[in-house]
């Protein structure tokens, strides 16, 4: 045990003196996280839908029933959106005061003041409470613009039907003067909250596979491992110290990335909660064990870095792209997502996310934890089978 600790300290020293290693394990994932975190590159909505609501000023419950005309208007808008964009829509009536704070998963949310339908002084002055508000997810900007056109077309039609006397020119003028409040803050925050734990999970994979795999292959190729094996202590203590060092690096890396996400990107992470850090530590260690095992397994038969690199990339790239790091697995075709949801990185990213976003305890994400533990067992059996000292 004393030897193991001494060797671990030496290994940590070696690791942190290796500037390239530090770059790839700490700076690179941080850099990627910041680049993506400031954008809203992909939508993270699991079930995209568009909601179209009429907003009612009165708080009288009896008013919360759609008239026939309103029903027709909303139904037409919904059908047009569904037909053109292929996105599910919901419609109804909502309270004007409350609707600005209304939270739902809609990628585009349209609030049409009910007065539009009844306002007799349409052409004179448009009151503030008579504005259409469109709240949208930035990654659906095209769809939101199309929705806007559909809404305008339907509104114009209904205005002309109700007030034929104002004429189509005035109706167009009126429609054009409707302000659209475009709000993308929510989606940006959503994406930050999505990408930070995702990148933390990805970095665990990278450190596990590349750092362990390449170091061991180099030690084998140069004969260093053989020389260590020729000592009375043998190489097992040294290998254990190597693994312990990587586990420590993985923890440090995860903590730093989450803190960076919180303070630099402003992601919504509850870093002041002690239990949160315990959960993160457990998840990182289980995830780290899986990917360190994968690193050991692929270094097992590799004779040089040249033969290791393609194998490592073959494993890392599909997982990086298809495990829901940068966009949700649900946005993949079903046949693919049915398969990629079982990737170890999918389990790890989901666990990280449920801890940072939903503040869930590790045990409440039972299936994901079990999934990762099953991978751990499978990979370690493979690693033991494949690992060669020389």
């Amino acid at each position: 045990m004393k030897l193991f600790f001494a060797l671990t300290i030496i290994n940590i020293k070696m690791y942190f003196r290796n500037k390239q290693g530090i770059f790839w394990t700490l700076f690179f994932p941080g850099f990627i996280m910041i680049i993506f975190g400031f954008q809203s590159v992909f939508s993270v909505s699991e079930n995209p839908q568009i909601s179209v609501f009429l907003s009612e000023k009165s708080s009288n419950d009896s008013q919360y029933k759609l008239t026939e005309k309103e029903e027709i208007l909303l139904n037409n808008i919904s059908n047009d959106i569904k037909n053109i964009l292929g996105i599910k829509t919901i419609y109804g009536i909502t309270n004007f005061i409350k609707n600005n704070n209304h939270e739902d998963d809609s990628i585009i949310r349209v609030n049409i003041p009910r007065d539009i339908m009844n306002n007799t002084s349409l052409c004179e002055k448009i009151p503030d409470n008579c504005k259409v508000i469109v709240t949208y997810d930035e990654s659906f900007i095209k769809d939101s613009l199309t929705s806007k056109i559909i809404i305008e077309k339907n509104l114009q039609k209904i205005i002309l039907e109700n007030y034929p006397e104002i004429g189509s020119n005035n109706a167009t003028k009126y429609i054009n003067s409707i302000s659209y409040i475009l709000n993308d803050e929510k989606s940006k925050n959503n994406y930050k909250n999505w990408i930070v734990p995702g990148i933390a999970a990805m970095a665990i994979m990278q450190t596990g596979i590349f750092s362990v795999g390449f170091t061991l292959v180099r030690l084998k190729r140069t004969g260093t491992l053989r020389r260590i094996k020729a000592t009375p202590a043998g190489a097992s203590h040294f290998l254990a110290a190597q693994i312990a060092t990587r586990a420590i690096v993985i923890l440090l890396q995860t903590y730093l990335l989450l803190i960076l996400g919180k303070f630099f990107l402003g992601a919504d992470i509850n870093i002041y909660n002690f239990i949160f850090w315990i959960n993160i530590t457990i998840i990182s260690l289980i995830g780290g064990a899986v990917f360190i095992g994968l690193g050991l397994a692929i270094s097992g038969k590799s004779r040089s870095e040249d033969t290791l690199a393609p194998v490592a990339n073959l494993i890392v790239f599909p997982m990086m792209i298809l495990s829901g790091i940068f966009f949700p697995v649900s946005s993949l075709p079903n046949w693919l997502s049915n398969f990629t949801q079982f990737f170890p990185l999918s389990f790890l990213a989901n666990l990280m996310r449920s801890t940072t976003m939903d503040n869930l305890q590790i045990l409440s994400s039972g299936m994901q934890t079990i999934g990762l533990l099953v991978w751990f067992v499978i990979i370690f059996l493979i690693a033991i089978k494949l690992f060669e000292w020389e």
Binding site: L3, L7, I10, M14, R17, G223, R227, I228, P232
Partner: protein
């Protein structure tokens, strides 16, 4: 009667039906430098690595300082010093730290500074392995072989690839170790090295020992058999010219 510290009896090792070591037996006396001589692929390294406990033989026995080297490899590793043919040590550590790691792996309390002094690398204490010249790398490897105060030191082609200055310097170091009472088993394919260093040599070819005696006796046996050198030996060689021109100091 000289005391044997290494006893090898009928040792054999086959790779893919080809004998790398074929039924060899020899004894190494305490305090001598014993050379295993032979061309590349003769079986020198396999023999040495069996004694070091890195390879298990197919048959035969090997005893070092009274310990069975085949069955008790862990114990053997703690009493021998090893310099392998291929040497590499940790990146991102200086020489002091590298020696310290090996002291720990050998559970030895030797001060790395003393080891560095023994192999004349004190000035390179803070350098990394990559910054060393070929000769310095070999001296470090020998230094590491000394961390556990071994009774026997195995040197596998210690001077291969070195320039004449570095080689002579290493010879000096090896002779010093002998002077300190260490037993050394070294392999080489340089005849002049064997002649310079070894008390006795075993010549190996195709996994078999074909001659075993002191270099002088092997030479006299050859002469007494009527052999005459075809060419008069020069009083100085090109090696000597190079040394004379560049000086004897280490690089």
């Amino acid at each position: 009667m000289k005391q044997s510290i290494i006893i090898v009896n009928n040792l054999s090792k086959k790779y893919n039906e080809v004998y790398a070591v074929n039924d060899i037996s020899f004894k190494v006396n305490k305090g001598e430098i014993f050379g295993l001589l032979g061309p590349n692929g003769a079986g020198k390294t396999t023999t040495v690595e069996i004694l070091e406990g890195l390879i298990s033989p197919d048959s035969g026995e090997a005893i070092i300082d009274g310990i069975d080297a085949i069955k008790n490899t862990k114990k053997i590793r703690s009493i021998i010093g090893i310099q392998l043919q291929q040497n590499a040590f940790f990146e991102n550590l200086n020489l002091y730290e590298i020696i310290d790691v090996y002291s720990k792996l050998y559970s030895s309390n030797n001060d790395p500074n003393i080891i560095l002094e023994k192999v004349d690398l004190v000035s390179k204490k803070d350098a990394s392995y990559d910054e060393l010249s070929g000769g310095q790398k070999q001296r470090l490897a020998i230094g590491i072989a000394l961390v556990n105060d071994p009774v026997v030191i195995f040197l596998d082609e210690p001077t291969t690839g070195l320039d004449p200055q570095a080689r002579r310097n290493l010879w000096e170091l090896i002779n010093n170790l002998k002077g300190q009472g260490k037993t050394i088993l070294l392999t080489t394919h340089y005849m002049e090295e064997a002649e310079e260093l070894c008390d006795r040599v075993a010549i190996i070819e195709n996994g078999k020992i074909i001659a075993l005696n002191s270099p002088q006796k092997l030479i006299s046996e050859l002469i007494s058999s009527g052999f005459k050198a075809q060419k008069k030996i020069n009083e100085a060689t090109l090696d000597d010219v190079f040394l004379n021109l560049t000086g004897k100091k280490l690089i």
